[in-house]
Symmetry: C2
Subunit: 321 residues, 2 copies
Amino acid sequence: MKEFDLIKRFFAEQPVQRKDVHLGIGDDCALVSSGEHHHIAITTDTLVAGVHFFADAEPRAIGHKSLAVSLSDLAAMGAEPSWISLAITLPSVDENWVSEFCAGLFELAEYFNVQLIGGDTTSGPLSITVTAQGLLPANKGLSRGGAAVGDWLYVTGELGDAALALKMLQQEALVVPEHQEVLLAKLHYPKPRVLAGQILKEYASAAIDLSDGLMGDLAHLCQASQVGANIVLDDLPLSAELLANVGADTARELALTGGDDYELLFTVSEDNKVGMETALSNAGVKFTCIGQLNKSMKLTTTLYSNVVQVNAKGFEHFSSD
Amino acid sequence: MKEFDLIKRFFAEQPVQRKDVHLGIGDDCALVSSGEHHHIAITTDTLVAGVHFFADAEPRAIGHKSLAVSLSDLAAMGAEPSWISLAITLPSVDENWVSEFCAGLFELAEYFNVQLIGGDTTSGPLSITVTAQGLLPANKGLSRGGAAVGDWLYVTGELGDAALALKMLQQEALVVPEHQEVLLAKLHYPKPRVLAGQILKEYASAAIDLSDGLMGDLAHLCQASQVGANIVLDDLPLSAELLANVGADTARELALTGGDDYELLFTVSEDNKVGMETALSNAGVKFTCIGQLNKSMKLTTTLYSNVVQVNAKGFEHFSSD
């Protein structure tokens, strides 16, 4: 008990102090307020040792990723991150581990001006649950269900790098030494697309963050919006490191089905296309148009203008029949 | 993955639909809004199998308690419960277990008009984390730090019953058969003092909920308020079942140090005493004055007007020296 009290001190030293937090860590509840005319976006993600990360992974990376995955959900809604609650279950008290975990978490929290307002520290198998909250103007939230037939399909960044890094760690793929660090960083230190999300809430018709793989997440978006989609495989954004190590075919497969990208998948109407592209370019956000929505209620892919079948998890008719 | 999707359907069928929830379960985030001039109280609690409950405990009781402990924190702040996020980690998919868990959780949620707005379902060792949110008028929050020398010390309900039930389950105490059910209900189905908390926010100077035991939680309140306190042991509210099974001395010890009461401990100034007592009585809330705050910076106890030493966890000078 006392040992856990000690650990709580690490969390009490979190670096951000927001004006909309009226009572922070240390009481029965935290107290916060949203500005008038604002909605609050709320998301919860759990990372379990041995399932979502290797139990012996660097604690700094675990701390970073625990927050990053939730901020990615806020980004997909177009929200500005504000407050987080952290529930951490630890098998034993290892001050060094907790210190490194906090360093990874707080570096990201400070960057996005997110304040840790409370949580719970318990004893048990290693697991981390973050509930993150963010603010956005009322009725500006980017849901999955707003896309329409004819809208263009985009992604931020590059896809498949984290999936290759995971395969490398699982000894299912070989990566040349000079590319290992950059690929592992994509897996362990994903950068949530918070800025892109805040720009996109003014232009996009729908958005979702890529956590389970492009095909699966696109299926969720299409189902919520009641549309189909075609992906132009030629246009998938693939990194030089990915292409150099596995070749184009495997690179596309990883981009379509690999998880942990934490990029945004979003749709934009013809009318908003130029405005969106200008705004994202001005902000220095990399983005790529990878296809278009249609009324087929199916997901299809084309390569060199030919329809191709992709043998990919989630790549199936997604209606309920 | 598909099995977990199935499980998610149980959670999607939650019974409450609030007007301040603009987007519920199923997107990247939920969207909610607080009324103007309201603060939001936020609390997070984790229950781990084998630590906070027996792994083979009734799932309905686990569902109830997972929510009750968080609502108790909201009650201690004087907040009206509004939204909850549920992160549940399950070792395997057992539909019957989840169905019973949901029944326990949702019965309580419906009673207090709390809407489940999202969460995460993961695979791993059994563990439940609830983040609960509640609303209260700005600057009306009941913190631990508002008590002053001379304020009267009160508790709601009766203390020690849950601690005896736990001892019974651990085969450390014998309870006559006709008392077992009522005591076990105190342990497994605690009733968060939400109504009392909302009344007390108008009268009390400080409050905390009793989760770790009276002495330990009183020490937190006194430390936050920079006061000392004396408890009149003669006045501790003890149930007939508790007294009948263990006698007065052990009953007092359990009331002072046993956890899991989920009653409120609160302080009231001389000026607000009558108003508070009238308001709680009119609402049918049981309460007892158990002592008074002083400037000693220590916790003391008296019995028949004599100072007595209690050998109790948490019962020690609580300043940092």
